[in-house]
């Protein structure tokens, strides 16, 4: 087959001077959506996952479990449609929010359920004696979590968290469905405009792979940095997409 990489230097007409520039801007959108959604997901995920382990607060446990089940059992694409079409119709002030923000919320909440599940099982995997020891030293529940339980659970779940981070970049591709101009939408639009699908898809796929690799390398560094001397952690496995 004939390659034609020249198309990336052509002018698409419109706000971008070349397809290459458009591609880079799309990559930027993919990374921004992913990063913001990740921050939201980590925050909510750790909070919800922790709530689910509080033994004396059945109300919080129920809330956390409900949250997790809700956001885990509806397809991401449908969740994005719900944020885009349904929630603004029910709560009019949200009509002001851009598609970008709504996608960040959708992807962030969706991922928070998965992270909450990791946090929950990470905390449950700790020996009960660690709770006892923290309490026996006079720590409040909050202090026990802050200084003992969460720092340890965080390290246990780091490998599955890396999986989630890579997933979030991949999952951000679903944003194309509500016209956020990220990589997948770029692929769809430019494929149609130029009919050079293979080149366009290769470039986009390449950028997804590069993003995933970058996260993997970065997290590998962090993992080594926070490793506890003398402690061997049992391996954790992650599934899902």
């Amino acid at each position: 087959m004939n390659w034609d990489w020249e198309i990336f230097f052509q002018d698409p007409g419109g706000q971008h001077t070349t397809y290459l520039e458009w591609l880079m801007s799309a990559w930027g959108w993919t990374l921004s959506v992913s990063l913001l959604a990740l921050l939201l997901a980590l925050l909510m995920g750790f909070m919800i996952g922790t709530l689910r382990t509080l033994p004396k607060h059945p109300g919080w446990v129920l809330f956390g479990t409900g949250w997790t089940e809700l956001f885990r059992n509806i397809p991401l694409l449908l969740q994005i449609f719900l944020w885009y079409h349904v929630i603004p119709a029910l709560v009019p002030p949200l009509k002001e929010l851009s598609g970008f923000v709504l996608v960040v919320l959708a992807l962030g909440f969706f991922t928070s359920a998965r992270i909450s599940e990791q946090v929950y099982s990470g905390i449950r995997a700790l020996p009960k004696g660690q709770f006892y020891a923290a309490q026996a030293l006079g720590m409040t529940t909050w202090q026990s979590y802050r200084y003992v339980i969460l720092p340890r659970a965080g390290r246990i779940i780091l490998p599955p968290l890396v999986n989630e981070m890579m997933s979030i970049v991949k999952n951000s591709s679903v944003a194309f469905a509500v016209s956020v101009s990220e990589l997948t939408l770029f692929a769809l639009q430019v494929q149609e405009e130029t009919a050079r699908g293979v080149e366009v898809y290769l470039a986009v796929t390449g950028l997804y792979v590069v993003s995933a690799l970058a996260i993997n390398l970065l997290m590998g560094q962090i993992e080594r940095r926070v490793q506890i001397p003398g402690l061997v952690l049992p391996g954790a496995t992650g599934g899902g997409h």
Partner: protein, 222 residues
């Protein structure tokens, strides 16, 4: 503000729009699970074979698939398959091929972990009894491994069922599309999406409860 009208939601709407999509989502899930497990077992065995010419292709395939968004894989197949076979194909056929190929990568990782969870001693015991590699795998290792990984596989299947909605990218008609079409036609998109969410939730939540029960049962037997 709250002005919902579910009156369009009746049996005619279900049978005209939703059932066809549900049927496709279901068939796609089942075929992709079965195909994914067969192909995934093959990939897992290749990766565990310790022969470089088998390990490397499997490694590249599995990790490649796992680092690309499913939507992109769907688009790739939809673009490439017609180029290769020289004639256009339907979105539905393309989706089936894509999902088998994609899920194979994920199932192969589950299966590999399952096989590796079987103690070395079991493999040696089989070998000591004079079994060939194939016999050992078929009679000793895989039966144990499959039981261990059944819950994870079923969870993957639930995720797969949710992911079938992504055939939206190539315009195939799945359950979500069914709801969406009905919503547009009746001018009630908000209600249609809400209903879709409820239906997906009920299906996926019930299935995941079942998986959890199964998991506990297996844990006890073990």
């Amino acid at each position: 503000m709250l002005d919902l009208d579910f009156s369009f939601y009746n049996w005619a709407m279900i049978s005209d729009f939703v059932l066809k999509g549900f049927y496709f989502s279901l068939v796609l899930t089942l075929i992709a699970t079965l195909g994914g497990i067969v192909l995934g077992t093959l990939l897992a065995l290749m990766r565990l074979s310790e022969k470089p010419f088998l390990v490397w292709p499997a490694l590249v395939y599995v990790n490649g698939m796992r680092s690309i968004p499913l939507v992109m894989v769907i688009l790739w197949f939809f673009l490439l398959v017609p180029l290769i076979i020289g004639q256009p194909i339907g979105a539905e056929i393309s989706a089936v091929v894509t999902f088998i190929a994609f899920e194979a990568a994920y199932f192969s990782e589950i299966i590999r972990a399952g096989i590796q969870s079987i103690p070395r001693g079991q493999v040696m015991a089989g070998e000591a009894l004079g079994m060939t590699y194939a016999q050992n795998m078929r009679l000793v290792v895989l039966p144990q491994a499959f039981r261990n990984m059944l819950p994870v596989m079923l969870t993957q299947t639930i995720i797969l069922f949710q992911d079938t909605s992504l055939v939206y990218a190539i315009g195939a008609y799945d359950m979500l599309k069914g709801f969406e079409t009905a919503g547009k036609l009746f001018g009630r998109p908000v209600e249609a999406y809400l209903l879709a969410a409820v239906v997906y939730f009920v299906i996926c939540y019930s299935l995941s409860r079942l998986v959890r029960r199964l998991h506990q049962k297996i844990a006890i037997i073990r």
